[in-house]
């Protein structure tokens, strides 16, 4: 997993609530591994039917084309569990999403890949959005070491589960933690086979 320490760069405002994972990465992007997920990020909002760009869409605007941070509305990542939504954001170059809240599955998927979901109040998100829309340099900093967002001239704290923070700082994968507990898993299974034998006797 890609480690995450301090991120500084262009931040794109997308002040819309309930941005769903279908909108982030449509089904068509999942057909083949040869699809460029980053190019298809927000496909339906970003392109016209003939494939040309919609100039009004935030990531098509010259100021925001190289965004590394997204500032969104509440319940970001709503809907489908597709992890491809996280992969698509990262392929585009986004490494952090700032929003008042995230959908649960998206939130977990983000951490598994090194995309940082940052919760900030709706008022703070609105203030950052307003700043980004008018600033000459629409940039922000997300510092995971200090758990601070620096944007619109002020610093605000954010919190993430301690183990998630550590995993991101060091680029650790969760599977390695699970594998280290293999003896516990073995012991559980041996006992469980006796108490719930029907779980282990599936006949295909």
């Amino acid at each position: 997993m890609q480690a995450f320490t301090v991120l500084h760069g262009v931040a794109a405002p997308m002040p819309i609530d309930n941005i769903d994972t279908d909108a982030i990465s449509p089904m068509a992007a999942g057909r083949s591994t040869s699809v460029d997920l980053g190019a298809m990020l927000f496909n339906n909002a970003r392109y016209n039917e003939d494939g040309s760009e919609k100039p009004d869409f935030v990531l098509n605007q010259p100021r925001f084309r190289r965004s590394v941070i997204l500032v969104a509305g509440q319940n970001f990542g709503f809907g489908s569990s597709r992890e491809r939504a996280v992969w698509a954001l990262m392929k585009f170059g986004i490494r952090a999403v700032i929003a008042p809240s995230f959908a649960d599955i998206f939130y977990d998927n983000a951490f598994q890949n090194g995309l940082l979901p940052v919760v900030q109040s709706a008022e703070r998100c609105a203030a950052i959005t307003e700043f980004l829309q008018s600033a000459t340099a629409p940039v922000a900093t997300v510092d995971l070491e200090r758990c601070i967002v620096l944007a619109a001239g002020i610093e605000t704290p954010f919190s993430v589960p301690a183990e998630r923070r550590l995993a991101l700082l060091e680029g650790l994968e969760e599977i390695d933690v699970i594998l280290r507990m293999a003896p516990d898993n073995d012991g559980f299974e041996a006992a469980d086979r006796k108490t719930r034998p029907w779980i282990y006797s599936v006949t295909t």
């Binding site: 279908d22 569990s81 599955i105 779980i199």
Partner: protein
């Protein structure tokens, strides 16, 4: 005083970590063509195998054509994924239902139907509608592809226990109102984020009176208000449903299992973090007007005034005006299917409405059974004739027009009424306009050519 969630959680806890996480044992893992590929790839790269093969089941559902005589080649954009799943299942020896299997179907339809999902099990799948399986008194939830790989390799997940919500459904359900209407009304009442962080136990006299397939419809839509898990306590209805299923325990093991399953309900004095009630007495048939599952009204109500920009955007996308009725709004597509509403009872409820009637001119109507087993059962009692004679297309099993990745889709700007779970922009195809409703309401619209109150058709 434990809740059902507490009981199942405790029974599957391999180890509690100091940071609040739990290593949780997974009993059942469902794999499909949409979300598993990169997980198999990681296993291959690492040189790992499945830890407990027999507790995994793979099937093609998302990207497979539903046309008559379909094969894995019928929908060219789906070939690559179907080939990949077939090869992966073969390479790793995973139990697999291919495109020509008589047991093929949507993961959440076939798992309960086969007796793969059992009461008290932990069930996961790379699909957000996995809570469907919670209807059996199972703890079931959707995961991403990284966690799919974790389960393949370890049959366990590192996770945090959700909070406990109880949703009590009370009152008297009116004729023409179905499980789908109840859960849609619940989402309308509580909003699309109400369930965030919770496992929701559906309870109360209305839930107890529902059959298993109706309970699956309720649990299916938990994610549409933000809850990863939705479940219902085990009762005699549950046990009768599981009894005799192909993979359900038999003989002495059955007795042993049933004795355990009878303990799988929240205790009378169980404490929940949040209690929510739904009075079902005044709920009519529900139809959505916007692009979020909370954007619902009784079919005989008027489209509300938009309260914010999002609602205005929704109305514009849907081509509707505040204050208008949905009754009479012409439709182009009627879709009956998906993991929400594609079981035998769903098809029967729709058939009751369309029997002796014809699909209105200009309407494309699809009936897509949730599994090839459901299809065969429906054909055995002549339901296929009812649909076909009315002018419906009678299809093979798959996710079809719910997720629009198999060639079945709504054309841009066209209007669909659908038994599915999401009315998001572009969900049923770019530019599609979706109205969520029950199978009976979709059937009523199909034969009327426009959205209508199904109760008018049931009276005659």
């Amino acid at each position: 005083m434990p809740t059902l969630l507490d009981k199942i959680w405790a029974e599957h806890t391999i180890r509690d970590l100091a940071d609040g996480r739990t290593l949780l044992r997974i009993d059942r893992h469902l794999i499909h063509d949409g979300s598993s590929r990169q997980a198999f790839d990681t296993l291959r790269q690492k040189g790992w195998r499945f830890r407990n093969l027999e507790q995994n089941l793979a099937v093609v559902d998302h990207i497979i054509s539903t046309l008559p005589d379909r094969t894995g080649e019928s929908h060219p954009p789906g070939r690559e994924r179907i080939h990949a799943l077939r090869q992966n299942a073969r390479d790793f020896d995973v139990p697999f239902f291919d495109t020509d299997s008589p047991r093929q179907g949507i993961v959440h339809v076939i798992a309960p139907e086969l007796g793969f999902t059992l009461p008290g099990t932990t069930v996961v799948c790379g699909d957000s509608h996995t809570a469907t399986n919670g209807a059996l008194g199972a703890l079931a939830w959707g995961i991403g592809t990284t966690e799919v790989m974790h389960v393949m390799a370890t049959q366990a997940l590192l996770t945090r226990k959700p909070k406990r919500m109880r949703a009590s459904f009370t009152g008297r359900v009116q004729p023409g109102v179905y499980a789908k209407d109840l859960i849609l009304a619940f989402i309308r009442q509580n909003g699309v984020t109400a369930g965030k962080g919770y496992a929701v136990e559906y309870a109360g006299p209305v839930i107890s009176a529902l059959g298993m397939e109706a309970r699956m419809t309720i649990c299916n839509m938990s994610i549409e208000f933000g809850a990863r898990m939705g479940l219902i306590g085990v009762d005699e209805t549950t046990i009768a449903y599981v009894d005799g299923r192909q993979w359900a325990p038999k003989g002495e093991m059955w007795d042993q299992a049933v004795a355990h399953w009878r303990t799988l309900h929240s205790d009378d004095d169980a404490a929940f973090d949040l209690e929510v009630a739904l009075d079902c007495s005044n709920i009519g048939p529900q139809v959505s007007w916007g692009t979020k599952p909370e954007d619902m009204i009784n079919v005989d109500d008027r489209v509300p005034e938009p309260g914010d920009d999002a609602a205005r955007r929704s109305l514009a996308y849907m081509g509707l005006a505040p204050g208008q009725t949905l009754e009479g709004v012409p439709i182009d597509y009627a879709f009956i299917g998906s993991c929400t509403n594609s079981r035998l009872s769903d098809l029967q409820e729709a058939a009751r409405v369309i029997r002796g009637r014809k699909v209105a001119p200009g309407v494309t109507a699809l009936a897509v059974p949730g599994s090839m087993t459901v299809k065969a059962e429906a054909e055995a009692i002549g339901l296929d004739r009812v649909f076909i004679e009315a002018g419906f297309e009678w299809r093979n099993a798959g996710c079809s027009m719910c997720v629009a990745s198999n060639g079945d889709r709504v054309l841009p700007g066209r209007r669909s009424i659908s038994t599915t779970n999401r009315n998001f922009e572009d969900r049923q195809g770019p530019g599609s306009r979706t109205h969520l409703a029950s199978p009976a309401s979709v059937a009523a619209a199909a034969v009327s050519g426009h959205i209508t109150d199904v109760r008018k058709l049931l009276r005659h």
